[in-house]
């Protein structure tokens, strides 16, 4: 149940983010939309690793070493998503930097006014 709620939310966030990125004209809104879609992808990935009735992959009093394989959820998607989040921050920072440079040279944030590469 938990996993399906998280997965549905993730898919909806991806679709919302893509809709925002494709329909908005303001470049800052496009960047925000991309981060929303990024969050959705992370949520879907984490929910794939979830298993009902198990706990976090940390060995402590609740998870003895001998029973670890029966008590913990899949640790691999979590490690993957940690990487994805960090890279996502870097990508967002780069997009904001380029948006700033674009604003500096054009004086506008509207991408429909940037027509150099349009054909």
């Amino acid at each position: 149940m938990m996993a399906s709620i998280a997965m549905t939310t993730g898919f909806i966030l991806i679709l919302m983010g893509l809709y925002g990125a494709l329909t908005n004209r303001n470049i800052l809104r496009i960047i925000v939309s991309f981060t929303v879609a990024n969050t959705g992808v992370n949520l879907v990935l984490v929910s794939v690793g979830y298993m009902h009735g198990r706990t976090a992959p940390i060995l402590d009093g609740a998870v003895p070493v001998a029973e670890a394989a029966k008590r913990i959820i899949d640790p691999l998607p979590q490690a993957l998503v940690l990487t994805a989040i960090v890279i996502g921050v870097g990508v967002t920072a780069l997009m904001l930097t380029y948006a700033f440079k674009l604003y500096e040279s054009k004086g506008t944030l509207d991408i429909s006014k940037c027509r150099e590469l349009k054909w």
Partner: protein, 233 residues
């Protein structure tokens, strides 16, 4: 009109694909082979209680090195792009309204505590949920608080460069030490694995993760500083 329509068609198609994926998905009831290997062997081989940390730092340490490299490149490109064509306008002396008693005192109280929390999170990365990347982000949030209090505050570039270079060098140096003394590049078993659950355990993991935390914190801080310097008077 046509544009919006085609966007909706595209999203509808994607939505159908997602719905099919969602309907066809059956959650696992058992760990798959890789995950079971990590669950069963982490405690005896690596000695870390947080299995995610063991995967990130030791089993897939090369990925983490690549990740840190990507972050470094991002910070470097941001600095390069923002400094291009910009005269170093040191005469930026805008008169700002004072930030207020609450914000000033609050940030003076909170910044050391946030730095301490960040250091705690990355030193205990092998025992508790947390680690270098999370701790580095917490440290950068202290830098962000400083910038909120005083938008004209500038971080020392020399300090950031020194921290970043030293932690990067140590990260790779410890990895090479793994080739010489243990099983391979970034193998953490150079030091004894120690008692499971104590602070000085899991071989090199706390040391490597601390350097990763310092490096990530320095990189995020330099990104924030570079973006803050674009503010015009």
């Amino acid at each position: 009109m046509i544009r919006r329509f085609s966007v909706l068609i595209l999203l509808l198609a994607l939505g159908i694909i997602f719905a099919n994926l969602f309907i066809g998905y059956t959650p696992d009831t058992e760990l798959n082979q890789t995950a079971r290997y990590y669950a069963e062997h982490t405690a005896s081989d690596i000695g870390a209680t947080n299995i995610v940390t063991a995967i990130i730092v030791t089993y897939r340490g090369l990925d983490t090195l690549g990740e840190v490299t990507v972050l470094f490149l991002t910070a470097a490109i941001i600095g390069l792009v923002l400094s291009q064509g910009n005269k170093p306008s040191s005469s930026l002396q805008r008169q700002l309204p004072a930030s207020g008693e609450l914000l000033t005192t609050g940030s003076r109280l909170l910044v050391p505590l946030i730095l301490l929390l960040g250091a705690y999170v990355f030193v205990n990365g092998h025992l508790t949920p947390g680690g270098g990347f999370q701790g580095g982000a917490i440290i950068a949030s202290a830098a962000l608080l400083l910038l909120l209090t005083d938008p004209l505050y500038r971080f020392s570039r020399r300090l950031i460069t020194i921290i970043e270079s030293i932690s990067g060098l140590f990260f790779i140096g410890l990895g090479i030490l793994g080739i010489l003394l243990a099983g391979g590049f970034l193998d953490s078993r150079v030091l004894p694995t120690g008692e499971l659950g104590s602070l000085f355990s899991a071989g090199l993991i706390p040391i490597i993760y601390s350097f990763v935390g310092l490096k990530v914190g320095a990189e995020f801080t330099s990104m924030l500083g570079n973006l803050a310097e674009t503010e015009k008077s």
